[in-house]
Every structure is written in C-alpha cells, then in structure tokens.
Symmetry: C3
Subunit: 261 residues, 3 copies
C-alpha cells in the first residue's frame, strides 16, 4: 500500500510537471510553422522561402541584414502578422538590433500603425526577450533624456500640420506635436534614421501611399541613402507583397527625382 | 486494494477537474497581455498606454467614453485585432453600450468590413457576454420591426448607386439596397448615428478614404456633431495609427467646409 | 500490488491518450466558431450567414461555387483572417479546387499579398490537407515544367515595368521578371485564369485599387468573362466588405468599357 501511495504521489508529481511542460504560459501564442510544415502544404513555397528569400534576397548587398530585419519586423507589426513575429523578433536581435531598439520600435509603431498593433506584439516579444535573457534595463525607458530637436525643421512641420489639419482636429494637431515630434522622435533608444526606416516600411506595408512622400524625405534627411531606399522596395516586395510596392514606387521615384534636382 | 482504487478514482476526478480548469473551451482564444507584460517589453509603451492614452485621451471632453469605445471597437473589428477585443468588448459595455448595440455593431461591421471580421469576434464576444451574464433576448434579433426609411434620401441614394455601379455589378446594386439600406441601417438595435460612427471609424481604420465622404456626411445627417467628428480623429490617431488619420483629414476638412457653407 | 501497478499503468496510458486528444499539435490554431456560437453573439449575423450568404449569394448563377471559393480564400489569405481559414480551405476543396491548386494559390499569394500571409496559412492548411488525406504528390512541386510564355505580352510588360520602376528599384524589376512573370505565372498547377482570379480578389480585399486595372485586364485576357468579373464584386462585397468593393467599382467599370470599345 505504501508503495502504491508512493507511486501515486510520483504520478501526481509527474502530471504536474507534465502540465507545466505542455501548457506553458505561452501556449496561447500563435503556433509557429516549421519549414517542414510549409513543405507539407506547398513545397514550392517552402523552397522559395529557403532558396529565393533567405539564401538570396536577404543576402543582397544593397541593404544590411540588420536593416532588412527592421523593415520586415515593421511590416509584421504594421499588419498584425503574429505568426511570423517569434521568428523575426529573434532574427532582428541576431542581426544586430539591440533590445532597446526593438523595444523602442514597438513603442514607435504603436503611434504609426495603431495601439492594438503594438499590443499584439507584447506576449511574443516578451517570450523572445526571455529567451535572449534581456533584462529590464535593456528596454525602452519611460523618460530618457531626449535628443535635441532641430528647431527650423520643427517650425516648418508645425506650420504645415496647422495648414493641413488645424481646426479640423485640434486634438490631432496637439498630440502630433507633444506625443510624436517633441517626444517619440527624440527618444534616443532608436536612431531617427531607423525610426524613419520602420515608419516608411509600415506605410508601404499598409498601402498608405499618401504619407510615404513626407516620411521618405524625412528618412533620407535622417541618413537613409537612395540605394538603401531602393533596395528596401525589394525586401518589401516579398514581405508586404508586390502590389503594395508597385503602388509606392511612383512616390519613391518622385522623391528621388526631387532630391537629385 | 480498495483504498488504492479509491485513491485512483479520486485522482481521476482531480485530473478531470484539472483538465477543465487548465483547458477551458476558450483556451484557444488569443492571450491578452497585462500592463505588466507590456512593461516587460517596452516600459515606454506601457507608460504611454496608462498615462497618455487611458488617463488623458480617453478622458478628453470632446467625445464621450461611450463613443470612444464604439470608435475603438470598430477599429479592432475592421482590422481583425483579436488580441485587444476581450478588453475593449468588456470596456464598451462598461462605458454604457448596451449588449444589443454591440451585437448589432458586430453584425453591421460584417457588411462594412467583411464577413470574416465579424466571425473573428464571435468566440471572444461570446466569452465577454457570458462574463456579463447577457441573455439571448439582449442580442440583435433576426427580424425586428424596422425603423421608417427616409424615402427622399433613399431615392437619391438609389439613383447615385445606379449611376456609380449599375451594370458593372447588378448583384452589388441589389444587395446594397435589400441587405444594407432597406434592412441593416433600419434595424432599431443600434441608432443610425452610432451605425455611422462605427462605419466611419472602420473606413478610417482601413485607409478607405474614398468612402469616408459619403459616410461622414451621412453620420452628420444622423446627428454626429462636427466637434465629435473632429475628436473622433484624435481617438482614431491612437487606435488606427497616425497615417490613416492624416490621410482622412482632407476629407473631414472638405465635408466640414461643405456643410458650413 | 500487481493489480494496482496494472491500474496505474493503464491510467498512464489513458492519460497519454487523453493528452493526445485534448492537446493535439494543432491546439494552438485559432478556434473556429460554430453557427451556434455566432447565434450566441448575434442572431442577426448568424441568420444572415445562413440564409442570405450561404443559401442565397453562394448559389447565385453568375459565378460557380468553385470560383466563389477561390475568391473567398484569396480574401482570407490577403487579410490574414485565420479564424475562417479552416472552414474555407475545406470548402474550396469540396467545391472542386484540386489540392495542387490550393497549394499553388498559397504560394502565389505569398508574392501578391506578402510572405507572412502565406506562412499564416501553413498550419491550418496542413490540418485540412491531413483531414482530406492529401499526399505529397498532390502539392505544388518545386520545379514543374513551366507553361509556354507569351513572348509579345511579356516583352510589353518588361517595357512597362522598366518605365514605371527602372532605376527606382532594380531589385524589384529583377524579381518581378524572374520570380513572378517568368516563373510563378507559368507554373501549371493553377491556371493563369485562376491566378488572375485570386490576384484581383486579393487586390480588392486590401483596397489596392491602383493595381486592379492591370490585373483585371490580365484576368479577362486569361479567360475571366465580364459577367464573372461582375459577380465577383457581389461575392467580394460580403467577404471583403462593401467599402472595398465600392472603391474598386470605377476600375472594373472602366476596364469593362475599354474592352467593349
């Protein structure tokens, strides 16, 4: 009898352990397909992923793997594509993006893609951060010392937003200044050039062509080169789909032309 | 032996209970991140959510919490943002939206955002409704007595849709009349002004600028005031992202101007 | 004691079996709501789904159930609507789409809607394929013998893409030729007409109006009739939402007019 009780106790312990293993706190996160899963659905797609995309496009010289990862992560967040996030949050860190930069990118894209888009990253990013043993002091802080604002550029922006929005939505004018241009863009954890990179990527990913001109110009003012912007479109074609990129091309073309003139 | 059998039987009962607890019928719904989860990914984002968004923007006087909740829920449904739905379906009810109104809103947005968008709300709304002890007679009924149609407005709409669509898609013309304007919009469970509020929100949330003019005019005909429409843009900036709102501003501006003239 | 051990062993077996049943490898896929679930949230929506959509729209004569299913599946993939995928991947096969065609459609839409959109289908399609006992030789192969290219059409396309894109993004020009028009569109597993059908559907579903003209013309060159294209808009109204269809109507109208002239 004693032995039986012991066996039962052991079984209970095993069951508890088992429960922990098979139902981790993350079990409700989207399941991540493996290459074998992709092959079981479309060998053609699995093959393109491996040989065309990973082995070729990601290795093209025009844009660094770090930039490609930032572009890709921005697309996924902009479109709420949670299934791919675990893989690409991991890859963006491996490609040299610092934890604080990814943490800032998520905060940045809350404003540029919608609050729910940032919220949808939280549990997945949390798991990836845990796997990388990232500590709290490596994350986007609440109140960092801000970068210096360029007063001339900002004065010009204020005039233009007042003209474009003004009394149509005073609240929008207010938060565009206090939350975005006098705060978000000045946070030092992610360089302005990288903020521009993910902003433009998010715009293209959601077909928001009308806002690309302002932000591509700003990106290039912030240091994005024309060859890099040009190669962004190649990366975006695969992750945001061809049509979104073809719709953005005329704006890229015209920004390139206006800056060359 | 008898005692052992008893122990085994007890264990079985415990296991069954355990299974019920750890694998509820809802365990496959998207996991909902807590503020602590958000802090573990981006303290900056968690702080903006709490102090900028919840404590400030939601309390601005220009738009009631009830309207802000309707706007927000419309954004989430329009974009299929399931992670945020549990929180905001709960909040919309707490902010005074009646169960029948939320139930009608889901049905309304099936037509205005796509069938799959409504389907994606079902299991989450079901769980929220259960928590609020909402009964079947509080939901959008199959065949209510419809509101009276405004015959002059409807005659005008029919002419315009015939001109715009006509033979390009007779099926579209047909269902626009019988399913939308002679039925959906006349269902009494959600006021026309609120149907317009969520329709315009959904359009802005998905960048469907071309359809905003008609529906914003209709919203204002249905009782949405200009200050409310203006403040909608502030709420939408946070939930649909700045770029979508900046793209919609010119249409809001021109509708405001045309109605002021 | 021996009996007790046997009982324990049996219990272990049962537990293992139970684990397999209650936590299958697919338990992290999105839960699929039943009609009863929909009724518990909105009887109006559940009723429209059953009597208006399934019993009426799907049975309209202008477009076959097979085509309606392809249109619908394209919408779901284009928008990442995973909740509806299990139902419609199953239905598309029942409506006569061959496994290789669905497998090709997923690969095709990776390019036309974004890589992550195809990835998001993988685990769900895998489960549906398993239920239908579909074997590896029924899937989109890596390197099939390609269809013959129409050299005149292709030469014209190359000129136009060079004019439109050219130096703005040489990478985009390159992959548009080698990955899309000299490969993807020539894969025999899905007819060019059906590739066009899902491409146009995906464009309308995501509001990518600017690209509809080229692809609708191509669809009609590939054999899509005007009545079919017209009725596509009816199907799309329900699955992509009314606003996306109203935005696409002027392009359809103008393509129909230009081909009638």
């Amino acid at each position: 009898m004693i032995l039986t009780r012991l066996a039962l106790a052991l079984l209970c312990v095993q069951l508890a352990a088992c429960a922990v293993q098979t139902k981790p706190s993350t079990s409700r996160l989207p399941a991540v397909p493996t290459p074998a899963d992709a092959r079981a659905v479309s060998p053609a797609f699995a093959n393109s992923t491996a040989s065309l995309l990973i082995d070729e496009v990601w290795k093209r010289p025009g844009l660094s793997p770090r930039d490609r990862s930032l572009v890709t992560v921005a697309v996924l967040i902009a479109r709420g594509q949670t299934v791919e996030m675990d893989y690409h949050f991991d890859l963006v860190l491996k490609n040299g993006v610092k934890p604080v930069e990814l943490s800032e990118a998520i905060n940045h894209l809350a404003f540029y893609t919608g609050w729910g888009n940032a919220t949808a990253t939280v549990l997945i990013a949390q798991e990836v951060f845990a796997r990388h043993h990232i500590s709290a002091d490596q994350l986007a802080p609440v109140s960092p010392v801000l970068l210096q604002i360029d007063k001339a550029v900002e004065a010009d922006r204020v005039v233009k937003v007042d003209e474009a929005v003004g009394t149509t939505s005073p609240g929008l004018v207010h938060y565009t200044t206090v939350a975005l241009f006098n705060d978000l863009w000045l946070r030092p954890g992610l360089a302005p050039r990288d903020r521009s990179l993910i902003t433009v990527s998010a715009l293209v990913a959601n077909g928001q062509v009308g806002q690309v001109g302002f932000h591509l110009n700003r990106a290039m003012d912030n240091g994005l080169t024309q060859p890099q912007a040009s190669e962004m479109l190649t990366q975006l074609a695969f992750y945001a789909g061809w049509p979104n990129v073809f719709s953005a091309v005329p704006v890229f073309k015209s920004v390139f032309a206006s800056r060359a003139g």
